[in-house]
Symmetry: C2
Amino acid sequence: MSERSEQHTQAAPAEAPRGATLSRRRAITLAGVGVAGVAGVAGGAGALARGGDHAAASDTAAGAVPFHGEHQAGITTAAQDRLHFVAFDVITKDRAKLVALLQEWTAAAARMTAGKDAGLIGAVGGMPEAPPDDTGEALGLPPSQLTITVGFGPTLFRDAQGADRFGIADRRPAALADLPHFAGDALKPEISGGDICIQACANDPQVAVHAIRNLARIGMGVVSVRWSQLGFGRTSSTSRDQATPRNLFGFKDGTANLKAEDASLLREQLWAQPGDGPDWMTGGSYLVTRKIRMQIETWDRSSLAEQEQIVGRTKGSGAPLGKTREFDEPDFAAKGDDGQPVIAEAAHVRLAHPNQNGGAHLLRRGYNFVDGSDGLGRLDAGLFFIAYQRDPRKQFVPIQTRLARHDAMNEYLRHVSSGLFACPPGVRDAADWWGRALFS
Amino acid sequence: MSERSEQHTQAAPAEAPRGATLSRRRAITLAGVGVAGVAGVAGGAGALARGGDHAAASDTAAGAVPFHGEHQAGITTAAQDRLHFVAFDVITKDRAKLVALLQEWTAAAARMTAGKDAGLIGAVGGMPEAPPDDTGEALGLPPSQLTITVGFGPTLFRDAQGADRFGIADRRPAALADLPHFAGDALKPEISGGDICIQACANDPQVAVHAIRNLARIGMGVVSVRWSQLGFGRTSSTSRDQATPRNLFGFKDGTANLKAEDASLLREQLWAQPGDGPDWMTGGSYLVTRKIRMQIETWDRSSLAEQEQIVGRTKGSGAPLGKTREFDEPDFAAKGDDGQPVIAEAAHVRLAHPNQNGGAHLLRRGYNFVDGSDGLGRLDAGLFFIAYQRDPRKQFVPIQTRLARHDAMNEYLRHVSSGLFACPPGVRDAADWWGRALFS
Ligand code: HEM
Ligand code: HEM
């Protein structure tokens, strides 16, 4: 046996958290991120003093979010600060191998979201002659509210040639209908689509990256990374406890978002209900991703008034134009002294508002991205848009159709990638696994 | 005048911090990041209660790092958690325009590192008909220990055709000699080099990105972004107060790094001394950047024993092979029962150690990166290596020559970009500016 790390001598590998001795620095690093008050900071410090008691830390940014439940975590979970999103192609034809991978992934995800190594042996607990079953870069880091959310793309049900790859073609939900082409789309196929997606969100990027990397490692030979995206500074709040963050246009983003507290709206707008489609999706949700390049250099040269007209809200407080506080209701009928609407006809929030779209809402959960520069002297930056919903045909598609045609913001935007996934309901317990109802 | 934002009504724009009312959530988000104990967390909360008193917050992760001083901040500053690095090409031929930009940049950097808007008017304080002089996405965010560090590349002194572009060719330091080709180099010119670099480090990526983006905005027409790189999870500790973080091979990185506390070594190894070269560099330091792609998928398939042999340290504790604690001195002479050296001849830490390199040290300050995927089914991930030193000819070059030839780690590495910059001494006061001694 190899010399065990300091971290692993205090507990049996199967139950060991990632480093029984939490790194003090890192635990403090994350203590209190995203919590609502000073009490939260104290809570973080307390959890720390107990040396990584995850339960106690669970309401802090360093703590753990429960993996098992009716719905998958990472949807209504108060949005964490960092994202690593990956789309995989399935490269095996063998259904049994795919099922085995989904089972192995589920176990690894349950472990990692609890702050444990990806595998039972861990990064340093195994035989020296064997590759570790965890890659190690998260050793000593707390759970950091990691959530891991899975989704199945249309191509998993039937490939581009129409073949029923894994005998599940008849289980494809009607709501998982391919998205139409939208005006102005400039999609790159190599960073669009995918058979399976995994969204990892955490308050520490190293923890989110560690999760995706270990899932990719476990999937070797069965899946292959099609594309992946890092994001930061979540651009939408998903809970009324969270202050509204700002996107790279400098505006508050998430003000009028669907929030975790809106129980009846969530039923109506977010979660697939019995009878909506195949049973295996009941309690699940549909995910649309759009990588949207923002022309920030041009935006930065436009006037404050123009920017506010385009969005339909003020840049400082985020209040709807004509109102004074962020959460005031926009008055789309109001006219200025000049007889023009206070919120322009082509303003983003007017066009995207439920009252313009048959009552449709989205739960937005996007992240900012900066992917270096574009070779033309500009930063390659924008919004990795993520939206969850009960039925994209009634929500994302009509809203985006309207936006793509009329939104004044389009001058500064380019949609370069698109993804659509059916995210099954939550994993109920240790015997359940991602896609069980779909594959059984 | 436009309606001022909530944030700007409490103080005159010229002195206003970025949002006089600090966002409570964000202030807490960062309270205590990187501080050494629970007292630090309390300090963060205290600073918060005072509504963004930067001085009081300065020893917390949300606080401000002083911009003025003998040396530039961002070198020995305890490494922050996030990086945005940019290399610019100068696109003007007009020396006066370049000088004016350096002056404007210096003022903006002083403001932003103090948690203020990039310009005097700010994101929302100006006339509605004018573009704001701050882009706004950091409104309400605390300083987050932002440091902004500038460096001048060889091509600023003389272009590829040998022309003395700005009348400073005779001031080029001999130590700023172009790096030689190293064995195995696979450098991409479009993400290498650059006339001017700016390194922004902070504990919040949104703050680091905001800084680079506003400097790029200010530089429009004078400079153009050549390449930029985001990083996370700093891979090297630069202070004995910091726990050693882990790189994407899962190993502790920074154990034997030059640290802020090593005063006499810093004089000898880090800062250009009087007589070293041109006076304008005295108190400055030379920066080498290398973007190193890590073949993490292959690494993950190698055994724990092999990984530890390659590095020369254990993966768990980070102790040198044959020793038990992280900060034990490696014993390069020790042999095992089999007569073989305990730390292999080709081990990374043996080859990189000062005793193999004429006593040469580096101050390493690198960051992990994940840039999506590589189109071949793998994550595009690795280390953005950053090293500061007194003279690259005596430090980086000999060390990297040895590593490039013999390091067992090379099998898993590919250097894809390279940069070399002369970072002048610190800006002394409000009258001083980046490059004043070079251009006067
Ligand atoms: C880079 C692209 C985008 C930017 C910068 C952006 C920005 C914003 C901003 C600043 C707001 C106002 C604050 C808020 O309520 O969150 C907003 C609202 C909203 N956006 Fe976007 N958005 C973008 C793309 C999209 C897309 C593609 C969709 C859906 C197809 C969308 C749907 C919405 C919705 C539904 C609202 C709420 C409208 C309301 O009910 O008032 N956005 N967006
Ligand atoms: C992706 C590439 C690299 C990885 C993963 C890596 C990793 C490591 C690790 C794990 C250590 C041991 C812990 C420590 O003392 O920090 C180390 C030490 C060191 N590395 Fe690297 N390194 C890389 C590239 C480089 C390069 C390019 C250089 C310089 C040319 C370098 C110079 C050093 C030095 C000077 C030490 C300290 C050696 C000692 O004094 O014991 N490394 N590196």
